[in-house]
């Protein structure tokens, strides 16, 4: 059985890589198979790990133990069920209710936490080292890093500040911002190359080791 699995995986790998030559039916077969399997697997798992423990089991328990208060879960289940109203075009408007609740709850949960995690903490992280400089806790290289980071943050933000025309001082600062952005993109590109080559290495290792036993 394991041998069959290895052969199927190897042939599907070759089907996918055949796209590098040009689009062909083998690639499309493997692509469609992957999409279909992923969706099917996701639906089944979400049903078993989401619907059964959070909806079905509590309701069943409420009915069998005659704990009718447990039926209160029918309210969120019913609201969730309104997502399927899209399947009946004349009743499609009902989907607005679960979407409104999701957006409201999601925003309420996210906004304060995102503000703190992505704005306040980041501003603090950029400025706090200056207190360390003032206290004489940082060496010359660390001070250089702290100042460089502040210049990077200010110039990059200036580049994205479109309320003022980018001329004169603002234009100069935003050009420095472009340099920092380019360094950031270069770093992201380098890491992406590493990531993509890692995938190729793993597939080559699978083909040469597990399938062909060459290494």
């Amino acid at each position: 059985m394991e041998l069959i699995g290895i052969w199927v995986a190897a042939l599907l790998t070759l089907c996918i890589y055949s796209f590098l030559y040009r689009d062909n039916p083998f690639y499309r077969f493997a692509e469609h198979l992957f999409v279909g399997l992923s969706v099917g697997y996701g639906i089944v798992l979400t049903f078993h790990q989401g619907f059964i423990p959070f909806a079905w089991n509590p309701l069943q328990e409420a009915v069998t133990k005659q704990e009718w208060v447990g039926l209160v879960r029918l309210i969120p289940i019913g609201i969730g069920g309104l997502f399927f109203a899209r399947l009946v075009p004349s009743q499609g408007w009902l989907i607005r209710y679960p979407i409104a609740i999701l957006i409201g709850v999601g925003s309420g949960l996210a906004i304060p936490n995102v503000m703190r995690a992505d704005i306040f903490e980041q501003v603090h992280g950029t400025l706090a080292p200056f207190a360390q400089i003032h206290a004489g806790e940082l060496g010359p290289f660390q001070i250089f890093g702290v100042v460089l980071m502040l210049i990077g943050v200010i110039s990059t933000l200036t580049y994205f500040f479109f309320s003022v025309e980018h001329r004169g001082v603002v234009g100069g600062v935003s050009k420095i911002g472009i340099v920092f952005l380019m360094i950031g993109f270069g770093s992201a590109f380098g890491n992406t190359v590493m990531g993509r080559v890692s995938l190729l290495i793993q597939r080559v290792d699978f083909l040469l080791h597990d399938w062909l036993h060459l290494i």
């Binding site: 590098l20 030559y21 992923s38 697997y41 996701g42 798992l45 979400t46 790990q49 989401g50 423990p53 999601g106 949960l109 996210a110 936490n113 995102v114 703190r116 995690a117 992505d118 903490e121 980041q122 603090h124 992280g125 980071m149 950031g184 770093s187 992201a188 890491n191 992406t192 190359v193 590493m194 990531g195 993509r196 080559v197 890692s198 995938l199 190729l200 290495i201 793993q202 597939r203 080559v204 290792d205 040469l208 060459l214 290494i215």
Partner: protein, 271 residues
């Protein structure tokens, strides 16, 4: 000549990249690996934990990122078992549910760890935000049973782990936005210590969180795996992969330089 180089068939580049990976794989070459500070910080934090501590690992990557994150997961889990640190696995992605389960079982078999005492696997629950926030109140309010369906009350390890207060570190192994979710909802709200191991594609986005100490450590892709393997003195797929990776990187750097030289020559000729 310049014209030919600028219009080179992309398939020739693909063949060169394939050769740059296949030939070193067959020759089994190896290069020394230097450990970076973000990976060392993760290792040091786990190394400093006393036996009996608890690390929660989020397996938040699918099969398409397995190459980068599986070796990393293996190295960290082995380190935890070696240090008698208990591991609780879970995932926020449906497609990762089986990957995490298999990984924990494989490493546990190698390290002699026992299910229920040394590790547990909770599996997947939909709704990432609700899962992360719910576990802050009570883990069993989100996972009333483990992945195999065993009630958490029957798992000895979970007897004294009710919420994040009993979790010493969360390690998120991610190929998407999950590390940001952990930081936003778990670090910010519950002050939970978080480390991350992420794919190369998203590692650049994670450095700001490292600088602010919202992440205590960060492992970048296959390189992070190789570094961690070196720290625990157990070379495996990460170390092998990074040696091969160096050849592919040399080729890419060479092609970038060649592309730039030909571009500037062509532009000068045009002027």
């Amino acid at each position: 000549m310049i014209e030919k180089l600028m219009n080179i068939d992309r398939r020739i580049v693909f063949i060169l990249v394939a050769l740059a990976v296949i030939i070193p794989s067959l020759l089994e070459v190896s290069f020394p690996i230097t450990v970076s500070q973000p990976t060392r910080s993760t290792y040091d934090y786990i190394e400093a934990l006393p036996p009996g501590s608890t690390v929660m690992i989020g397996f938040n990557y699918g099969p398409s990122s397995l190459a980068e994150l599986h070796p990393m997961a293996k190295a960290v889990i082995y380190h935890c078992f070696q240090k008698q640190i208990r591991v609780i696995g879970m995932t926020l992605l449906a497609e990762a549910a089986t990957l995490g389960d298999n990984m924990l079982k494989d490493v546990a078999a190698e390290a002699g760890a026992v299910y229920g005492q040394d590790y547990a696997y909770l599996g997947f629950r939909p709704g990432a935000t609700q899962v992360l926030l719910g576990m802050g109140t009570a883990i069993d309010s989100v996972f009333e049973a483990d992945y195999a369906g065993t009630s958490l009350t029957e798992i000895p390890l979970m007897a004294d782990v009710t919420n994040y207060e009993q979790v010493d570190l969360v390690l998120d192994l991610a190929s998407g936005s999950s590390t940001e979710w952990w930081i936003t909802y778990t670090n910010t709200r519950y002050n939970q210590q978080i480390a991350a191991g992420v794919t190369g594609v998203i590692v650049s986005q994670m450095y700001p969180y490292l600088q602010t100490k919202q992440l205590i450590g960060l492992m970048p892709g296959l390189l992070g795996a190789a570094e961690y393997e070196k720290l625990i003195d157990r070379p495996a797929k990460g170390t092998e992969g990074m040696s091969i990776q160096s050849f592919a990187h040399l080729l890419v750097v060479g092609l970038v330089i060649l592309g730039n030289i030909t571009f500037f020559i062509q532009r000068r000729q045009g002027e």
